[in-house]
Amino acid sequence: MKHKKVRLISRLDIKGPNLIKGIHLEGLRVIGDPQEYAKKYYLQGADELIYIDIVASLYGRSKLPEIVSRTVEEVFIPLTVGGGIRSVDDVKELLRAGADKVAINSAAVQRPDLINEVSRRFGSQCMVLSIEAKKQTDNTWEVYTDSGRERTGIDVIDWTKEGVMRGAGEILLTSIDAEGTKKGFDIDLIKAVTEVTNIPVIASGGMGSFSHLEDAIKIGDADAIAMADILHYERSTIPLIRDAAKKAEINVREHD
């Protein structure tokens, strides 16, 4: 059994005031109030929460700080927040609202120095580099931004290495191809990224059943798993997934 505990993370994608869910990061459906879901997952024993405002990078200011400060009123686990973060001041505002870490994607691609600035100012543990990856015909992956809408021409592996060098403390790796499909994570992608980095990698996108999680950890070597609609639509729950992980000899936190 791995010594280090694998983290089970609930990912909540947000648009305006609502928790939403899409497929391949598109085709959005409103699910409900993020606050209620966040509290439910905390009480069920989620190890962390991730909020991503998926349209903030398109339309500028978001309701995130407000949603975050309401959430931390009653949720006592780490909270990572992303979407539309462009500056050290944006990060500061979210941290003061109660976030522990920020996930940055589009703005880091546009201006990679932002990674250095955030990690220098707030520590690398606070700087989560969010990478949206789409598989190419030559079996490489390209970095996309703006919730899978814009291609960048940048190779995911190159970008991972650069991000680590610049001070990212963690990688949130989302497969655009797998996201919302319930067909499993892109294990090759996870493996390719974990092989070139020495910082924790959170696998996100595609979990349809427990075996997908097991593969992402045992084959992909992911450090954490982000789960979205499998929880939102109650196809499974954190306690069931935790029990299954223990049976599969995956080291997870005990939750009372």
Partner: protein
């Protein structure tokens, strides 16, 4: 029953709201302040912190909090340093060269050794949940400390790259294992205590520890 009063020291960095909420959950009356007079008169103090050691110390220094915290510690006021706030309590840190700390508990802040004995590289920062355990070769009683009512099955949330190594073994209350590193998790010298993990982010177990702090 009147609620316990806690003062969180604001020196311009980090997430103070979560600590505040964690204490309020335990019915404390909490104020966040950077006012030296209020800090001096506080019943209980929390020194939070995230980020780089040198940066944080220079923010404390800018506000003349270094001597102030010495004075408060001599009064016997319970002080809880969390994460980087715990590291500040020691004499110095080796993060990016030597930087002086508050010197309230003897010891040094050192890097986590990234190489495990089996040759596998550990991931740094150490991010995630680890069980708290008693120091090796030492009989430590957790009752009457922050850890009262918890045990070695309790996991708490860590996020850090450096660790606060006390010079005196009696000051080490608990640790956690990360690779071959025994990482100090809780240190205490009389009224001065620190935890490397985030109790305010460690679910029920962490909330219990904050409640313990209110009772000290």
């Amino acid at each position: 029953m009147t609620s316990k009063v806690v003062t969180i020291i604001d020196y311009g960095v980090g997430n103070l709201l979560s600590v505040k909420r964690g204490l309020e959950y335990n019915n404390a009356s909490v104020s966040i302040t950077g006012d030296p007079d209020k800090i001096l008169k506080a019943e209980r103090l929390v020194l939070p912190g995230v980020g780089a050691f040198a940066n944080g110390m220079s923010e404390l220094n800018k506000r003349d909090f270094i001597d102030l915290l010495s004075a408060v510690s001599l009064k016997g006021t319970p002080i809880l340093g969390i994460c980087l706030g715990m590291q500040f309590l020691l004499d110095q840190s080796e993060e990016f060269g030597i930087t002086k700390g508050l010197g309230l508990i003897p010891g040094t802040v050192q890097a986590i050794q990234p190489m495990a004995q089996d040759g596998k590289k550990l991931k740094i920062p150490h991010i995630g949940w680890s069980n708290i355990i008693k120091p090796r070769d030492q009989d430590v009683n957790w009752s009457g400390t922050l850890l009262e009512g918890t045990d070695e099955t309790s996991a708490v949330y860590f996020v850090h790259s450096f660790m606060a190594q006390p010079a005196i073994s009696n000051h080490l209350i608990a640790g956690c294992l990360y690779g071959d590193n025994f990482i100090p998790a809780v240190i205490q010298s009389e009224n001065i205590m620190g935890c490397q993990f985030h109790p305010e982010k460690s679910g029920k177990v962490g909330l219990k520890m904050l409640d313990n702090f209110l009772g000290l």
